[in-house]
Symmetry: C2
Subunit: 174 residues, 2 copies
């Protein structure tokens, strides 16, 4: 391995899954430096049948993965709430959000919501507003119109911070 390959930035996609809106955010990390690349959300029409909405999420994410060619992916561990029907809906969208990067041969890491908040804001119980304020500091060029795109960037940042230990765990377990 040459020095230049060690110093190459790693491009990461973070995904915040949801049936109505699936947020995505792409960043690059090199040492302690983070660079904003792009973000957005996939919103398949709610009038479509469920199978078509799920296909819409997959097609939207596939387009993003094709365009930005991330090397690693991270998805938020879904909060399991008491509403079974809502959990099921989220689970269905999350299945697509996990599978779509795997189709590109990309490893998909998972992070708990409180670790995402702790990594970005420094506290596990931060609200969405605090996350967005910190995002503007960590990624000054980031332009996000919606909370789910911001959350996706926060997940990508979390992976940038924890990816070394995650990869070490994987190497140890292999």
């Amino acid at each position: 391995m040459t020095v230049s390959s060690i110093r190459a930035p790693v491009r990461i996609i973070g995904i915040d899954p949801g049936l109505r809106r699936t947020g995505w955010g792409v960043i690059e990390t090199l040492g302690n430096k983070l660079t904003y690349i792009a973000c957005g959300s996939v919103e398949p029409p709610e009038t479509l049948p469920l199978a078509s909405r799920l296909l819409g999420i997959h097609e939207g994410l596939t387009k993003v993965l094709n365009e930005f060619q991330p090397m690693e992916a991270a998805v938020e561990q879904t909060f399991v709430n008491k509403d079974g029907a809502a959990t099921l809906k989220l689970g269905q969208a999350r299945g697509i959000a996990m599978m779509s990067p795997a189709m590109f041969g990309i490893d998909v890491a998972e992070y708990m919501p409180n670790l995402v908040k702790k990594t970005v804001v420094g506290a596990g119980h931060a609200d969405k507003n605090q996350i967005q304020v910190m995002l503007k500091i960590l990624l000054p060029k980031a332009e996000f119109k919606r909370a789910d795109a911001a959350d996706a960037l926060a997940i990508a940042i979390t992976h940038a911070h924890h990816r070394s230990s995650a990869m070490l765990r994987k190497a140890v377990m292999a």
Copy 2:
């Protein structure tokens, strides 16, 4: 439309989603006649990461869809239980089971478990054994080694019985 095209059999795939095992069953229906085509289950290795297991379900179903070229698909409406983590796992597998046929441009119908039981056995509270006994009568040539393949055939039969009214609903709503 010619008489022969009206009398052509309709090939249906039923899918019983699960993260460990996703059952599938293909039948043909023509009037009141049902014909068994094939069944089986997709079982991605449990040692793989979640994203790879979900991709395994998608790849397995895609292979089946390619081989048997069904014209319509049906998936069981997942039972929402009190265990949020189990519901989430099932939801993720179900998302893949709904999306994979949609990638082939096939409509995906959904049926509640008690409607499946009522259609196949005649009672909404039938057990798995009763379903398998009735399947051997309805599809004498069917060979299923596992309950999830049998369940998938039961879902396909349910769609064969209810597809006309489902298509009518769709036409009315369009």
